[in-house]
């Protein structure tokens, strides 16, 4: 058992317990969302002399690592630590809702104007705050040259944030978002490398950003996008994507439905299976996987076994809060 010192008080951290679990169990309010080291909502700072476990800094910018920031939900301390909650007002950016538009029956496009956020990589995600202690991650479907940020928010049954966004959020509303997070984005450099993009549901959001970024930067290699849904009603932006494919001979779009027979322009099967059947050898490819965590997990393994290099597989799993 180790001790956590926070604001002059001392809290116990049981063996195997995370700093987040230990503090919330003892009544300290620590913002959190994914509880699995992805969203960075639970970021805390350790004293300069603290021994921060390396795993708790995975994915943090090196500048933040150097200042001893860490993720409380994946921090299992091995010795006593003095920690603090960073002032979130320093880190959060004000944004205004500029557009709300249905993309299909369950997915809404939300436009946000955030003047202080100019610099991001298409495909990264932000944390959107309903209030100081309640946030969820949403991927950016826009590219930095767009006039506003775009999110694709899927309504989940009983989902607290997604239903609030669908039912309450209006154009003109003000809210706060975090700085962009995540490393699932397009990297210019190997312009001729073939790209495979696979997404399910609103997992199309980051892929739209990545795709448009790649096309804007004149990626010359083949780009294959597979978007999967259970049925046709779950697909969206179909016309926009078909149009992009018409204008860019190296871009190929394949919508996939898993519980319906194939129809014109639409393949039957899971997006991953259709993609891998058409591209069984991924040696030299770069692969992006976004959406349902189970899909991402199995697709990562399949892509890897199809000879994609580990470092060439980028993924954003839309993990939901397990509580």
């Amino acid at each position: 058992m180790t001790q956590l010192h926070l604001n002059e008080a001392t809290y116990q951290c049981e063996a195997g317990e995370s700093v987040l679990d230990a503090l919330t169990r003892q009544g300290v309010a620590v913002p959190s969302s994914c509880r699995s080291g992805v969203c960075q909502t639970c970021m805390m700072q350790a004293a300069a002399d603290a021994n921060v476990p390396r795993a708790a800094q995975n994915g943090l910018k090196s500048t933040l690592q150097a200042q001893n920031y860490f993720l409380a939900c994946v921090c299992h301390p091995t010795e006593d630590m003095t920690v603090s909650l960073p002032d979130s007002s320093d880190r959060l950016l004000p944004a205004t809702v500029t557009a709300i538009r249905p993309l299909n029956d369950e997915i809404l496009c939300v436009g946000l104007d955030c003047p202080s956020l100019q610099d991001y990589r298409a495909g990264q995600f932000i944390n959107l705050y309903r209030d100081a202690g309640f946030s969820r991650s949403y991927s950016l479907a826009s590219v930095p040259t767009d006039s506003y940020l775009r999110l694709h928010v899927r309504r989940l049954p009983d989902g607290r944030m997604s239903n609030w966004i669908h039912d309450q959020l209006k154009i003109g509303d003000s809210l706060h978002i975090s700085a962009p997070v995540g490393s699932c984005f397009y990297l210019p450099g190997a312009a001729e490398q073939p790209l495979l993009l696979i997404g399910t549901g609103s997992g199309l959001a980051p892929l739209m950003g990545i795709l448009r970024d790649a096309l804007n930067r004149e990626h010359s290699g083949e780009i294959h996008l597979y978007h999967g849904s259970r049925d046709r009603a779950g697909l969206y932006l179909v016309d926009e994507l078909r149009e992009l494919a018409e204008h860019h001979p190296n871009f190929h779009y394949t919508p996939c439905v898993s519980s319906e027979p194939a129809t014109s322009g639409c393949k039957s099967g899971r997006a991953v299976d259709v993609a891998l059947a058409e591209h069984p050898d991924l040696a030299g490819w770069r692969v992006y996987l976004c959406g349902n965590p189970d899909m991402v997990k199995s697709a990562r393994k399949k892509a890897y076994l199809a000879k994609a290099a580990m470092n060439d597989i980028y993924a954003d799993a839309f993990v939901a809060v397990a509580s």
């Binding site: 997990k297 890897y304 076994l305 580990m310």
Partner: protein, 122 residues
Amino acid sequence: MANELFHKLGGEAAVNAAVDVFYRRVLSDDRISDFFEDVDMERQAAKQKAFLTMAFGGPVNYSGADMRKGHAHLVARGLNDSHFDAVVENLVASLQELNVPAELIAEVGAVCETTRNDVLNK
């Protein structure tokens, strides 16, 4: 001495190249792939990296005791000498694929052999 092997093989860059080839072989090998099922691939890859660094005689940060603890649950699931041999065989094949000279591969094999009893909790 062992550290010299790590450098001869190309140090960390060689480990990174080998982990891709080796882990892919292991996952596709029906004799042992079950032991690698339902694990987080990234975490598993990090473990493969640690293992190869050790097998190459590089900086080691785990002891025989860790090795026993880390594999106890697999031994309970039936991990035995034949699986250990299969892993070594895949490692050798990976290094051959990467054109590592035979005498260095033999050295790597010898380092692996020293861990057999700890891995199998004998």
